[in-house]
Structure formats: structure tokens, C-alpha cells
Point group: D2
Chain length 143, copies 4
């Protein structure tokens, strides 16, 4: 995939730094390239559901935000990305020290892109796929 | 719909009080009955996406948690509810003072229930549907 | 809802008549108005899954096509509608003499609309909701 | 992945042969193994949407049925598989001589499995991914 914006790295850094909920959650950008983005979250007690697994809402926030950033790597400089819909599958209990997310654009488009994210729970050397996201990200002109 | 648990109100209260992420977010139980649940969130700056709308992850957390509680009203006392998958549609910008969520069980089942949630943004007297959720909640035996 | 096309009824009639797979299946237009459409299928043995319920693919075809027609009632004369994604929930066994579908635009939009369809199985006087669809229909300019 | 049924190949063959709608459509089994299944459809004029692309309902039927067969490879002999929900993304126009589908179980489970299908359009030597499906297949005891 190709980025029409030479400064897409800055755009993605801003997507992580300027979102209050993302800073509050503690989600960090790991890296990105044209059509993909990776992020990580150090799991804290406040991220939990009542059964000491990471809440589905936390997993979805990570998957959705990283997907938006992946779509953000391949849009023109005068545009931004908005999630319009997604499906989330919670495959295994969200138990781990770190959540790691990888998002890949499955189908880039001028009007909208389809993006997949996978969320992994990491404990020591073990890494397990815990949830999978597929969503539609629309490209909006910046006014 | 009918609840097989005379204490389902206590179950639902616990679903809200014992989830760390829900307390941290500030989501409050409004009420519930057999097959439904309602909740509300006083919107704070830390809930925002970079463009000053409530983050999709916050909306999803509300929709999913309230859906789980709605499913929790119609399960036996020795069971609990787990989200296995859902779709979220973000219909309008999440701009408001309060987010209100109503979740209804569309199809109850012994193994799993299908639940719909609607999230509304409230500002003064205005109430707008901003997102819609449909998900599968599995009934698990408590060990 | 309002239609920008005074001839939207003709458009919808064409959506049903000009689709080979829809004629082959036997799906008939019942009626439409701005933002909605209804259709029906007389169930035949060839529509079945191995267990003598109507195949999920038949139910989805009905839900998707009727949703596209509902979106088609509110687009300009020089545009057409394309499904980009949907979720289908199969709620009850598809057993009946007639399948009836009602599609309603949940959120109209210039670029795309979100549409919900419900599929009912009818036997004599009994009518049961058997499946529910929610999908994104994009508006494309006719070249 | 492992199959608890030594005769799973026969089960899958039956899944294709005993479904009236699948025979009517012309969908053929290509092959299967524990956790996966492949199928193909020779595209005919009657499979079309009005714009001479294969109807989304045909693509969904292929994706869903092949996913059910993939789940069917890893269930006990006295069980069968039922689709309860899925999401379908239509990524590119369904134009080709042959549609080919590959379904893989993403997460096997005792109660239900999550399965992904990809549908490709083949014309001569060209093969394009045209749609992607992710769905939940429940395992039911045979009565």
C-alpha cells in the first residue's frame, strides 16, 4: 500500500496523542506504515471487567483506535478518518500483562477503507489472540 | 419476558458495581426489568476522541455493558453472561452532556441471547440516537 | 423521510425486476415508500437447507435486496445503491409458507445509509421474526 | 486442529449434497480438512444482480455454507452445525467466471466456533478477493 501523505507518521502520532480517552486509557503507539498500525496497553486493574479479565470495551477501544490510525496512514493530508461501523469478536478471555494490537487495511478506498485489527494478550513469552475486529473507516475532508 | 431469578435486580446492580472499568468510566445503572436495562454516563472531557466527540470505545463500552446486564436479568442464579461478539453502528457524532443507553433482549435463549442496545446523546431537552449495537451474550455456568 | 426522486417507485420496481438472481429466487416486491420497502417470497423446496429450514443464504438475499431497495427510495435519480457490508442474525428456524421482509432506513446519508431488515416466516395466521439484518448501503453516481 | 469424527469427510459431503438450495445454486465442494473447507461455483447469468455482478446473496450463501462445513469438520459425530450470526464485507465487484471460497475456523469451541470465509472471483489466471465473512456457528446435538 502507498501513502499519499509524506507526513503520515505525524498524523498517526497525533491520532494517539490528541485523543483524551486514549491517553486516559494508557494506549501507546508502537509503530505504523502505509496500511498498518500497532499499539500496546499496559494492563491496569481499572481496565477490568468484574471477573478480572480486560473489559470488552477496552479491547474494542484499542482495536477501533488502532484501525482508525491504520486507515489514517493512507489518506490525503487534508482528510481525517471516522469509524462508521465495526464487528468485534471476543475469542478468548482478556488475561495478560500487556495487550498488543495490530491493525491492517484489508481494502483501501477513496471514500472508505475496511480495516481488520487483532488484539493479543501477552504474559511473559506467551502471546494469545483474544479478539478480532473488522470495521469500516470513512475518509472525511477536513473543513 | 420472564426472569428465572427473583434477585435479578441485585445481579444487575453487581454487574455495574463490580466492574472496575465501568466505575472508572462513570457509567451508572438507571433501571432494569426482565429483558432490559438502562444506563447513563455524565460526559467528561476524558471520554473524548480528538475531535471532541465521545470516543467510539466509550459508546461501545456503554452499549456492551448494558446489553450484558439486560441478558443478566433473564438467566438462572447460578449463571453469568459473557459477550462473544457484537456489531456497533456509529450513526451520528457523540456530542452531548449525557449519554443514555437502553438495551433490550431481542431473542432470549438457554445457551445465548441476542441483545440490542441504543445509545442516545442528551443535551438539554434534545435526545439523539447516536449509535446502535447488536450482540450475542452467552450464558455460562458459575463454577 | 423524503425522496429526492419523484419516480422512486419505478426505481424500486426495477431493482426487483432487473436482478436475475432475485427473479430466479422468486422474491416479489410488496410495496415501498420513502425510507422503507417490503417484499415476500413463497417458500419452495429448492430454498431449503438440509434440515428443511430456509437456507440462511436465502434469508440474507431477501434482507439485503429489500434493504438496498429501501435505500434506493431516498437517493437522487442519477445514483444507485451498493451493499458494502452487513450483519445478519438468524434468530429462529426459517420454517414457513411465506417469508416476508420489511426494511427501514435507520440513518439516511448522502454518502451511505444504514438500513435494518427484518425477515418473518408466515404460516397461516402465525408470523414469526426469524432473522434480522443491519447493513451499510453506499450511494454511487450512475456513470 | 483435530477432528473428533473419523468420518468428517462424509459429513461435509452430505452438507453439500443434502442442501436443496446449494444444489440449486450449483455450489460444489472442492475439499476439506480439520478446521477448513473449500468450495467453488461456476458463475451463471441467473446468479447476477442487475449490474452484472454476482448478487451479494449468492456470495453470502457460498461464504456461510462453506463456513458451516468448516465448522462441521471438527464436531462430534452426533452433532450438527447451525449459523447464528455473521458479518459479510463486500470488498470488490463480484465479476468472474468462477467464485472460489476458503473457510477457516478461527476459534474452535465446544458450544460454538468462529469461522472466517473469503470469497474470490477467478477469471483466467486472475484471482481477486471479493468478499469476507466472519460468523458464529453453534454446535447442536442431533436428536
Amino acid at each position: 500500500m502507498h501513502s499519499p501523505n509524506p507526513n503520515y507518521q505525524t498524523i498517526v502520532a497525533n491520532i494517539f496523542q490528541q485523543a483524551a480517552f486514549i491517553r486516559d486509557l494508557g494506549l501507546e503507539l508502537v509503530g505504523c506504515g502505509p496500511g498498518w498500525c500497532e499499539s500496546r496497553l499496559a494492563v491496569q486493574p481499572r481496565h477490568m471487567q468484574q471477573d478480572n479479565v480486560v473489559h470488552a470495551g477496552v479491547q474494542t477501544t484499542i482495536a477501533d483506535h488502532t484501525a482508525g490510525a491504520a486507515a489514517g496512514t493512507i489518506i490525503p493530508p487534508d482528510a481525517y478518518v471516522l469509524s462508521v461501523e465495526f464487528k468485534m469478536n471476543l475469542l478468548r478471555p482478556g488475561v495478560g500483562e500487556i495487550l498488543f494490537c495490530r491493525a491492517d487495511v484489508l481494502k483501501p478506498g477513496r471514500q472508505f477503507s475496511v480495516v481488520e485489527s487483532e488484539v493479543f494478550a501477552i504474559t511473559g513469552n506467551s502471546r494469545k489472540l483474544i479478539s478480532k475486529f473488522i470495521g469500516t473507516m470513512v475518509t472525511m475532508p477536513r473543513s
